[in-house]
């Protein structure tokens, strides 16, 4: 039944967006600027996985672990080499946003140069018909994606509520000045948020690479969708970002049931624009006074 298939498709898309949005939201909430290059972290991680698994023939599990480590490292590098120096010279959030766009272009084209524009496939899983549930088909990988998204989000929720690391991050996210005065090393927390957020992107990269293959531009569309999902739900709120991502995934898939398929991205863009304009704090976000 097609309506049920669209639901499944929406959940798959939503899960992918949620994986992106959660890492992004973590970084945004802690650092308060838009790190557009988050999508490119996914791209670079995916190519890293490709290099480790397909070129160097490492076992998939090992390659995956190394990829996640690598993406965390990339996050650290981006903060330390670009964002921190900019912050230290007093750059505003607008500058950091522009810088992140520059970083995005740089890394994306570096991947293009090194690996070429053609689509890379991992060929780890065999292509076969998925499982049929009530007239809708879903592959084991897709089930894995949804499951991993759920588990990860549960883990993140526990992390931010119960662990010292998470609570500290939330403190900084809430009010950086106050946190610093209370003796929290905000720079260390910033680094932690980048490493953690980027590692999540690395995990997302593994799943996206398996499901959608690898090409240099993959990160751009992912970050736009992930960012949109985060905005819909509330960019400073992790559960919000996740919820917004699922809403987006479902809206897109049900939307093109009626509309021509070219409108899929248009749905995302319009939602983004509308929410930014009329409800920038998203459905769940907390209002923190004037955005400045």
């Amino acid at each position: 039944m097609i309506a049920f298939q669209l639901l499944i498709n929406g959940l798959i898309a939503g899960s992918i967006y949620a994986l992106i949005a959660s890492g992004f939201s973590l970084i945004y909430a802690t650092n308060r600027f838009v790190h557009f290059a988050h999508g490119t972290t996914v791209t670079v991680s995916a190519y890293l996985l490709f290099a480790l698994f397909s070129r160097l023939s490492l076992p998939f599990f090992i390659a995956s672990i190394l990829t996640i480590v690598g993406s965390g490292f990339l996050g650290w590098l981006m903060y330390v080499a670009l964002y921190r120096p900019l912050k230290q010279r007093g750059s505003s959030n607008a500058i950091l946003l522009v810088a992140s766009i520059g970083l995005m272009i740089l890394l994306e084209n570096l991947m293009l140069l090194i690996f070429g524009a053609d689509v890379k496939t991992l060929n780890y899983l065999t292509v076969s018909k998925g499982l049929e549930i009530s007239g809708a088909v879903i592959t084991p990988l897709q089930i894995t994606i949804i499951a991993v998204a759920f588990v990860l989000l549960l883990v993140l929720w526990l992390l931010t509520r119960k662990t010292k690391l998470g609570i500290t991050m939330r403190a900084v996210a809430d009010n950086e000045e106050l946190a610093r005065i209370s003796g929290i090393n905000t720079d260390k927390v910033a680094i932690q948020s980048f490493i953690l957020g980027s590692a999540i992107a690395g995990l997302a990269a593994i799943l996206v690479a398996l499901e959608q293959n690898i090409e240099p531009v993959m990160g751009t569309s992912l970050i736009v969708k992930g960012f949109t999902g985060a905005v819909i739900g509330g960019v400073t709120s992790l559960p919000g970002a996740v919820m917004g991502s699922y809403i987006l995934g479902l809206a897109e898939n049900y939307g093109i049931w009626f509309l021509p398929s070219g409108y899929k991205d248009a749905i995302a863009f319009v939602l983004l624009f509308v929410f930014l304009l009329w409800r920038p704090t998203g459905l769940l976000g907390l209002s923190k006074g004037t955005r400045d």
Binding site: Q5, L6, D118, V119, N123, E132, S261
Partner: protein, 386 residues
């Protein structure tokens, strides 16, 4: 404040100076590296060297280079090919064309792709440069008495053959169309639909996707819902490979039929994997084997010697480019490089040229006529369908 802006001055000077130096060096280099005026005939080739269709771009490049090598051996003049990447994007092709045209005086530009061909048509007609399309399917490209030619079948002619296959060989009337949203896809799908509706009736459903799409599940789900027996695919290799794979995952068992535009070497087969099994391909390629008649035999031998691979249906692109280049060189011999009106007349006069892609005659629209045959993909190889 005063000190700060003074400090900026030397840096500014250095930066400007460095940039100025780069610019000057660049232009000097360029002017030095200009080859001697005289015998070199420059022919531009705007091909998808990257992106979807890049394997086809590579094949076209090989066909052109093979032909030019043979041509230059015999003659006094030197044909020099200038390759530029369009990435299959008409916009990029246009800017590349403008750039090429401003650098070289070229009588001919060879192009790949319907979108590219159509976008460049008004420009080549205005500039009086011959455009030879070697992979241009769109019907709108047929324009009488102008500077556009193609050594590739019009998708409308092909549509007649495909519909005939669907109705008479596959014997079904449950048909759906899945097309790519660009000039090629739209034109091919339209040609197919018109033919089909003329002969039988309505197509069950027609779905569309944007170039560069990676997720076809919604379109595929809608097609699955309509339960067709045959789906006509009008797509480029990258998208084609991905969607076949997703179709298999969705449990779609319909027969897919497509034209050569979907073919890529590794680009297509890596993506599709074994979901390309049983794909029907409509092609105008002859059989490329070592014991075919001349000129195919020598052509196959030269290609295999140089590139160490066997030729199959997908190498149609090599053959078409090769023939196009040979035909052009005859015209260039007669007319020289400046008189493109003469070159045009010579091309219209070409009748039954014995090419490796078939016999070539250009009609008033600059189109060729050709016959088609049906092949099927089995184990990554192309076999004749019958």
């Amino acid at each position: 404040m005063g000190n700060l802006s003074d400090m900026n001055k030397p840096i500014k000077t250095y930066v400007l100076g460095a940039l100025g130096l780069v610019v000057i060096v660049g232009f000097v280099w360029w002017s030095i590296s200009q080859p001697e005026r005289g015998e070199s005939i420059r022919i531009g080739a705007i091909l998808p060297l990257t992106g979807s269709g890049s394997d086809q771009g590579e094949w076209v490049k090989r066909g052109l280079e093979l032909a030019v090598k043979e041509i230059n051996v015999g003659r006094g003049h030197n044909i020099e090919l200038v390759f530029e990447d369009s990435a299959g994007d008409p916009k990029k092709a246009v800017t590349t064309y403008q750039n090429l045209k401003s650098r070289y005086q070229m009588p001919v530009v060879i192009t790949w792709g319907s979108g590219v061909g159509l976008a460049l048509t008004p420009l080549v007609n205005q500039d009086k440069i011959i455009q030879m399309g070697v992979a241009t399917a769109a019907s709108a490209y047929s324009t009488p008495d102008d500077f556009t030619f193609r050594n590739f079948p019009d998708s409308a002619h092909e549509a007649q053959y495909i519909v005939d296959v669907v109705l008479n060989k596959l014997k079904t009337d449950r048909v759906a169309i899945l097309k790519m949203n660009n000039d090629y896809g739209v034109s091919s799908a339209k040609g197919f639909r018109e033919q089909y509706e003329k002969q039988r009736g309505k197509v069950l459903t027609e779905e569309v996707f944007e170039p560069g799409t990676t997720d076809f599940r919604t379109q595929l789900s809608k097609i699955k819902g309509a339960s067709p027996s045959v789906v006509y695919l009008a797509t480029y290799p990258k998208e084609g490979g991905l969607l076949l794979r997703q179709a298999k995952e969705l449990g779609i068992t319909t027969q897919f039929i497509a034209s050569v535009a979907i073919l890529g070497g590794r680009e297509f087969f890596d993506l599709a994997g074994d979901s390309a099994e049983g794909l029907l391909i409509v092609t105008s390629a002859p059989v490329f084997s070592d014991d075919a008649a001349e000129p195919i035999r020598s052509f196959v031998k030269s290609y295999e010697e140089k590139y160490h691979e066997d030729l199959s249906a997908q190498h149609l692109y090599v053959a078409r480019a090769y023939d196009a280049m040979k035909v052009l060189s005859f015209a260039l011999d007669q007319c020289g490089t400046k008189d493109t009106d003469c070159i045009r007349r010579e091309l219209f006069d070409v009748k039954n040229y014995p090419g490796v892609s078939g016999r070539i005659s250009f009609d008033r629209n600059g189109d060729i006529d050709t016959t088609f045959n049906l092949q099927v993909v089995r184990n990554g190889l192309f076999l004749s369908y019958d």
